[in-house]
Each structure stands twice: as C-alpha cells, then as structure tokens.
C-alpha cells in the first residue's frame, strides 16, 4: 500500500530533523511530506539542508489548511492512505504499519491511534475535554471513539478525496463525527505516545476553551445540518 505521512510543521526546528530521521529509518517504505506552515524559525532551512520532502506555505495558514495541502498532494500523487504525523516527536513510527494493516483488514476509512485503548490514563482538564467529545460523538453518531483528540490518524483512499475537496473539514474530532454520519467507518488501535521531544505546545487556556466551544457547537448543532 502506498502510504504518505503528512507532517505539519510550524516552528518545529527543535525536533523536526529527529522526527523525520526516525520515521525514515523505522519505516523506509513510507513516503512523507512536511508541510512547513510559514514557520518563522529555521524550520524551512532544516528542510532544505537535509533535503527533506517538503512544501513551504508562504504565509501561516493554520493546521487545517496545511493538512488540506498535504491531502491535495496525496490525491495528486495517488496515495492509498495518509497518516497524520506530529513533527514534535510525540508519535512513534512503528505504529504506522499496524494502522495500515488495520485499515486493510477491517476495510474501514479511518484508523485512529488511541492512547486510552492501550491503557494509558490521562488526567485533568485535557482528559475531561476528550471525554466530553467522546460522549458527544457517541450521542450524535452512535459510534464509540475512545480517543477523538488523538493526533495520530490514518485515512483511506476515499477520505483523501473527501478531505482534499472538502469545505471546513479539518483534522479534528468534529470532522470525524461528520464523516461517520455520512457513512465512513472508523476503527481504533491502541498506541502509546511520548512527551513532545522539543519546542512548545500551542494549546493555551483561551485557545482550549474556544476549541471546546467549537467542538460542542459543531457536534450538537451544526452536524445535523451539514
């Protein structure tokens, strides 16, 4: 199966090289594309110097738009599956072949790498948010997604088309729920993740609150009208 790992990168100079080198050494058969989303640090220089396969957004456009660009690349180059892969080193490449196997054997459209299925316990506000989203997805679609906010997801061929051409369809839990409603089949496999290996997290309290508001409104209200 022809698999592409999309690695969105915004100011990830601290760990991008390590992440990509680890990915290519553990999964040599998997292609990758770094989407440099208008970074203002040395991320683009690292990509050029190391001759990484990458595209440079001339301005910062946000995760959703960068992901779209990656999906368009995947569609153009006829990939059969796409995996979202974090630049900060949280995701372990050894799970990608397992996700691909799950995608093929269960004939589903999306495979989510779930941290909670592997017995990991999360605590605090972040966990509560994730639980709430899980609950809302179950209420509105009937599907059980244990880890809706996991950043490690694999998308099948049909989903590549859907995302590349979609409107307001980001790599977020509300999009997953909408796709389930529209007939997509989603399964999960257990994965473990590491702490980020460098750089800074972008999730600040105000942003997290807006994110949760967006998820609630999107799942409870808009989902049935889209």
């Amino acid at each position: 199966m022809k698999i592409l790992a999309i690695i969105p990168a915004y100011n990830e100079e601290a760990c991008l090289a390590n992440t990509v080198n680890e990915l290519t050494s553990i999964c040599p058969n998997i292609d990758y594309l770094i989407v440099n989303d208008g970074s203002i640090d040395s991320t683009p220089d690292i990509c050029d110097m190391e001759k990484f396969n990458h595209i440079d957004m001339p301005i910062n456009t946000g995760l959703t738009s960068g992901f779209h660009a990656g999906m368009k690349y995947a569609l153009k180059n006829q990939y059969e599956a796409v995996v979202q892969f974090d630049a900060d080193g949280q995701h372990k490449p050894e799970y990608i072949p397992l996700m691909a196997k799950q995608l093929q054997t269960s004939h589903c459209d999306i495979v989510i790498g779930s941290r909670y299925l592997s017995g990991e316990q999360a605590h605090g506000l972040r966990n509560m948010g994730s639980r709430l989203i899980s609950h809302l997805i179950h209420q509105t679609t009937g599907a059980i997604i244990t880890d809706p906010t996991s950043g490690m997801r694999m998308y099948g061929k049909q989903m590549i088309k859907t995302f590349a051409r979609g409107f307001d369809l980001g790599p977020e839990p509300d999009s997953i729920a909408l796709l389930i409603r529209n007939g997509a089949k989603v399964t999960e496999i257990p994965v473990s993740i590491r702490d980020r290996q460098g750089g800074e997290s972008y999730l600040k309290p105000a942003k997290a609150a807006k994110y949760m508001l967006r998820m609630c409104v999107s799942l409870l209200l808009f989902q049935r009208f889209r």
């Binding site: 301005i59 409104v217 009208f225």
Partner: protein, 109 residues
C-alpha cells in the same frame, strides 16, 4: 421589560440562529466564525428569559429603563466585533499582498 420586548429578543435570537445554520449548510461561513453569532443569540435568549439581569444592572448603573441597557450592551458588543473585523481584514489584506509578492517572485525565477 414588557413581555412583548422579551419576545422580540427571543425572536431576534431565533432569526440569527436560522441565518447562521443556513449559512453553514450552504458552505458560506466557517464554523469557527459562526461561534460569535451563536454566543450572541444565546445572550439575547438569556436576556429575554431572565429580564431580572437587565433590571439589576439598569438600576445599578442608573438607567431609566432596562431596554436602554440592552440597547447599550448590544451596540457595545457589535462595536467591538466591528473593530475586530476591521483588524482581521487588515491582516487578510497583508496576507494577500504577501501571497501576490511570493507568486510574482516565483514566476521570475
């Protein structure tokens, strides 16, 4: 506040909600950008259902009628929104310029 005014607030909220849902459905607005209007219509509903809130603040600040306070609050919120929209348009202009420059430079090389 008379019941007719409270009803007016709630009808206004329903109108806003209808327009927003239609726009999302027709792919004319991003969900992200609809959140303000959802919260705004929620505020109107709350003021319509619990006019005591308006009464309390009206007497606290010395307004003649709670309706005046509701006017001021709505105008205030929309003013802030308008300023933020202006700021956002400025940034969008700048981004379009940057993109045009980038494309022009790429065509040259």
């Amino acid at each position: 506040m008379p019941i007719s005014q409270r009803l007016l607030l709630i009808l206004g909220a329903i109108a806003i909600l209808t327009i927003i849902i239609r726009s999302v459905r027709a792919k004319r607005i991003l969900i992200e950008d609809s959140l303000f209007w959802i919260m705004f219509s929620l505020l109107l509903v709350i003021l319509g259902l619990f006019p005591q809130i308006a009464f309390f603040f009206a007497s606290f600040f010395g307004f003649q009628s709670p309706a005046n306070l509701v006017f001021l609050v709505v105008v205030g919120i929309l003013l802030i929104k308008e300023f933020r929209n202006t700021a956002k348009i400025s940034l969008l202009k700048e981004k379009v310029n940057q993109l045009a420059q980038e494309i022009a430079l790429q065509n040259k090389s």
